[in-house]
Amino acid sequence: MTQIIYQRSKGLKDVETHYCPGCHHGIIHKLIAEVLVEMDLLDTAVGVSPVGCSVLAGNYLDCDFVEAAHGRAPAVATGIKRVLPNHLVFTYQGDGDLASIGAGEIVHATARGEHFTTIFINNAIYGMTGGQMAPTTLLGQKTTTSQSGRDPLLHGRPVRMAEMLSTLDGMAYCERVTAANMPELNKAKRAIKKAFTLQMQGIGHTFVEVLSACPTNWGMSPADASAWVKSTMSQVYPLGVKKDITAEEKP
């Protein structure tokens, strides 16, 4: 008898991705695909992709997809979820897309408690356009537009979207995770599954921030980039549940 320990998820189309070697977009696509298969939602789910490296996410995940204008995925997802309330609807947005040009969109979608799920890929940089500083870039981090490192006086300080959005009453569940090592990868998958499950219960906005590596624009090997997410990035962006209105009140 042969047991399958792991094989390519049926939630992915059988195509190559355009992502750089070791890019976490590929890992997170896999986790979403696995959860959609496990929840039997592949045929009905609708994803909304951003502008950024993951603009073609719909070419890889084997569910329906709509591509939104830069930062506008929450508005597009709002429309889809209101028309198709019984379908799972999720956005997939980078930090340039969500925390910069689209910051207003996600704030108000969350404030309205829109019943879709946001998967927020925070890699602390603009990947697609060649490594410019993002609102999420760490202090001292070198990018093509902060070549001596991000300077708080000149460029401001990193924006913690998960914490900020959790202050809004429309947020039902918000967790920050990473796929940078095996235990964290397992937690990331559980968070995505929980967000999707709570979405289908219609209790408010659900949000998963995933700290991710962009080895190419960070100028690191994929293994070093994954290690840096855990050692350095997660100091500025602490992992864990930021809000869960379904959690039992502590006595």
Binding site: I5, Y6, R8, E16, T17, H24, L185
Partner: protein, 74 residues
């Protein structure tokens, strides 16, 4: 129990993440081989040391790896 690790050679981007997570340190990038994409692909050096944990396959961003466990008939 006989584990088997199978690579979809021409999908590998030689990123080395599988190499970095393998608890038995039995994976490496084979610099003597260049695949169709131009990368040195990951290979397993000693199949008998594998514990079929699946970590390499689960971390691979490009779903290159399949991990199987063959149970010996009794």
């Amino acid at each position: 129990m006989k584990p088997e690790v199978i690579f979809n050679l021409n999908r590998c981007k030689g990123c080395g993440l599988c190499v970095s997570v393998c608890p038995r340190k039995i994976l490496k990038l084979d610099t003597s081989v260049t695949n169709i994409k131009g990368y040195h692909p990951s290979v397993i050096s000693d199949q008998s040391q594998c514990i079929a944990c699946g970590s390499c396959a689960r971390v691979c961003p490009d779903s290159v790896i399949t991990v199987l466990k063959h149970e010996e008939d009794t």
